[in-house]
């Protein structure tokens, strides 16, 4: 059978009272945004500058305009960001006219709340959890919207849309609340919170089709560009302040793009010639490697890397 799903602009017209898959996913996500805003006191939307959180912000506009968002936007800043992502973040937040909170992993380290993992070029991925949980406590947040998708990873495949976290921020896969119809249960006690995932049912392809349909701007690093890289653990890492060629490694120029936005020192690029959103859609439809498998060293430690981090309170 053929395998390239059509892009949003190519889909066949549907009958009069049928929703396209993107419309159905959008409506579900808008419903989730409104449900959280109605049931919880102090939500916050987490924003990384990546494509999923860019889609989240558009969905929040769809849910609440012409009013402002009934919650602030929060970025967990690891200090290892791609510089263009920070520029993008500030520009996007200014366009929206919404409030931004930046919670810094570096500050958590400076205060002694988090300890840098040993070794050259260690990942701050796990440390983000400390900063996130501290920020939740400091601001009294009782719900965090995240851009997690169930197609990303097998622990996420089993996570609820309203994902309950105890007073330690922990996810317990065995104590998840049954989630039926669209009857989300957001009841919590003080100190507990809900992680809400409005795009749980979206795939990477859906996200790009939506970006195309909504004409959303994404950071330039998602498009093919020239970059100096080294190959390490079968990933292409950008040579930067944190990544320098080791003995035996050769830095070289390559035409690459990023499929995910993470820290500079653990997010790999993929070789690509896609310079437009339609070209990315064609590439994603044809790819045979998951986005995390291709590009995230942080998910490769073990079969259960994501599961372990989620239990500690990760996104």
């Amino acid at each position: 059978m053929t395998t390239a799903p059509p892009t949003a602009s190519q889909t066949q017209p549907l009958g009069h009272h049928e929703l396209s898959h993107l419309d159905a996913l959008e409506s579900e996500a808008v419903f989730i945004f409104r449900e959280v805003a109605a049931e919880l006191e102090r939500p916050v939307v987490l924003f990384s500058g990546g494509k999923d959180s860019i889609v989240l912000l558009r969905l929040a506009e769809k849910a609440f305009r012409p009013a402002g968002f009934p919650f602030p936007i929060m970025h967990i800043d690891t200090g290892h960001n791609f510089p263009e992502v920070l520029d993008f973040r500030d520009r996007r937040v200014a366009e929206l006219g919404e409030r931004l909170i930046v919670a810094s992993v570096q500050e958590s380290i400076d205060k002694g709340r988090a300890v840098e993992e040993p070794g050259e070029n260690s990942s701050r991925n796990r440390l983000q959890t400390v900063t996130l949980l501290d920020a939740i406590l400091e601001h009294g947040f009782d719900a965090c919207f995240g851009g997690g998708r169930r197609d990303e990873e097998k622990a996420r495949a089993k996570e609820r849309v309203f994902s309950f976290r105890d007073e330690f921020g922990q996810w317990d896969p065995k104590r998840q609340r049954p989630e039926l119809w669209s009857l989300y249960n957001g009841r919590i006690r003080k100190g507990e919170h809900i992680r809400a995932f409005p795009i749980s049912n979206w795939t990477e392809l859906d996200v790009w089709q939506y970006i195309e349909r909504e004409n959303l701007e994404v950071p330039e690093m998602y498009f093919a560009h020239e970059r100096t890289v080294v190959e390490r653990d079968t990933m292409l890492l950008a040579v930067s302040e944190w990544i320098q060629p080791r003995p035996g490694e050769q830095a070289y120029e390559a035409t690459v793009r990023y499929r995910t936005v993470g820290d500079m020192n653990c997010t790999g690029a993929v070789e690509s010639s896609a310079t437009t959103v339609p070209e990315i859609i064609a590439e994603v439809a044809a790819t045979r490697i998951t986005e995390r498998g291709a590009t995230r060293a942080d998910d490769r430690f073990s079969e259960a890397a994501m599961e372990d981090r989620k239990k500690e309170g990760y996104f």
């Binding site: 059978m1 053929t2 395998t3 390239a4 799903p5 059509p6 889909t11 066949q12 549907l14 009958g15 009272h17 049928e18 929703l19 396209s20 898959h21 419309d23 159905a24 959008e26 808008v30 419903f31 409104r34 449900e35 109605a38 506009e61 769809k62 849910a63 609440f64 012409p66 009013a67 402002g68 169930r150 097998k154 622990a155 495949a157 089993k158 896969p173 065995k174 609340r177 049954p178 989630e179 039926l180 119809w181 669209s182 009857l183 249960n185 009841r187 919590i188 006690r189 749980s200 049912n201 795939t203 392809l205 790819t287 045979r288 490697i289 998951t290 498998g293 079969e303 259960a304 599961e307």
Partner: protein
């Protein structure tokens, strides 16, 4: 492209994992790194072949205990449709999981092993799919390779199922497909070894089964979810009622009634981020503005005012508005449901409190017998209860509207979702 939600249920023995693996694999939704990871894990655990079941048992917490906890969601797309599979395990907490996965499904696939015929488990699957009013049921008669592709065997299972299903609630649409998930016969490609079967292979059936008519597009129901009030100079007087249409079609200019207050008004406009729309139908999230400044808040419901005989609209029935509800409840926690039990109840966008007035009977999901002397519903049990609610619910029978006919019961001490209810007509 349309979205189809599919529920599959069964144990590894039925070949369910193999079937899902084949759907995902043949539609290229399994990626090389996932396959490599499964291959590595298969070798590590001493399996002789790449065990596609490992794709579906995800968590270490599950592997350590050799169980599957819960519903997992999988995604794949063909050029015709996007599919969401709610994959539920067969063993422990079976009913709770299947009810969860089935609650939103358009199609249920029930697996039957061709060698064993219709087992208790297959009957239970079919019953739950019917109870949850999944509009389309596929009975996948699997492992046909092990019965030499025998038509007689297939026909016997079809007959057996048909006589069993006549004792169920009305099943909308049943399709029987003989297949071998292992060898790929009639999953994606038509089998050449069963020329006597003139129906579609599973995937083509899923791509073409007509689901648009399954929703209730007649009786307009708009549960108010959130009130949008910008409190800004530019939109000083804006007051919009946001929500997802739960039934029928709502149009600008419609005469509406606000329930439970009974106040009447007219739809001034239906707003979306992308501009106003003339109408919104079931499944759409929109913001409704009314002509009058009436009091409307979250948990209220807009319905169309009864239309006179002169309009061309189909006559619109009103939902029942009452504090007493009869329902079939599936129980999902260890602490049993008993008469007198008090719970928080969530129905559409409305929270209230409910007390169990009466447990009329418990249903044996294997024999479908009613046990009228039952004193409680334990975990994974299903029964018919009468509830008294602190506030009126605007409800329809579940068979007429899966959104306005469903509710959850929540334990007020732990906040855990304890039961799922489907309202039956009073």
């Amino acid at each position: 492209m349309e979205l189809l939600r599919l529920a599959t249920a069964g144990s590894v023995d039925d070949g369910k994992s193999t079937l899902i693996g084949r759907l995902l694999f043949d539609s290229k939704a399994i990626f090389e790194d996932q396959l490599a990871s499964v291959e590595r894990a298969s070798v590590q655990r001493g399996h002789e072949y790449t065990n596609l079941a490992l794709l579906t048992d995800g968590l270490r917490a599950e592997r350590e205990q050799g169980i599957t906890i819960d519903v997992a969601y999988r995604y794949f797309a063909t050029p015709r449709r996007k599919f969401i599979i709610a994959d539920t395990p067969g063993h422990v907490q079976y009913t709770r999981n299947m009810v969860t996965g089935a609650s939103t499904a358009d199609v249920a696939v029930v697996l039957v092993d061709a060698r064993k015929g219709l087992l208790e488990q297959s009957r239970r699957h079919a019953f739950l799919a019917t109870l949850l009013r999944i509009p389309h049921l596929v009975v996948a008669v699997n492992k046909m390779d092990l019965v030499e592709w025998d038509e007689t065997r297939f026909r016997a299972i079809v007959d057996d199922f048909t006589s069993f299903s006549s004792s169920l609630l009305p099943v909308a649409d049943v399709t029987f497909i003989p297949m071998s998930a292992l060898q790929g016969d009639n999953v994606v490609d038509r089998s050449e070894r069963m020329p006597w079967y003139d129906g579609l292979p599973l995937l083509e059936h899923l791509e073409t089964v007509h689901i648009a008519e399954d929703r209730n597009l007649v009786d307009m129901r708009f549960p108010v979810q959130y009130v949008i009030r910008p409190m800004s100079d530019a939109h000083h007087d804006y007051r919009g009622y946001a929500g997802q249409v739960a039934g029928g079609v709502i149009r600008a200019g419609d005469q509406v009634v606000v329930l439970p207050s009974g106040l009447r008004s007219q739809v001034a406009a239906i707003d979306t981020y992308d501009g106003p729309v003339e109408e919104a139908f079931t499944g759409m999230s929109v913001t409704v503005r009314l002509v009058d400044d009436v009091d409307v808040s979250r948990g209220d419901m807009l319905v169309r005012a009864d239309s006179g005989p002169s309009t061309s609209q189909p006559s619109t029935s009103q939902p029942s508005t009452s504090q007493d509800v009869e329902a079939v409840v599936c129980w999902m926690v260890d602490q049993p449901l008993r008469q007198g039990g008090r719970y928080a109840i969530k129905h559409t966008t409305r929270w209230a409190r409910a007390v169990v007035g009466d447990l009329r009977y418990r249903l044996d999901v294997n024999t479908l017998e009613r046990e009228e002397t039952a004193a409680e519903l334990a975990l994974n049990e299903i029964g018919h209860v009468r509830l008294r609610i602190t506030a009126p619910l605007m409800h329809d029978p579940y068979g007429e509207n899966r959104t306005t006919g469903s509710f959850i019961l929540v334990d007020e001490a732990t906040n855990v979702t304890a039961g799922a209810g489907m309202i039956v007509s009073d």
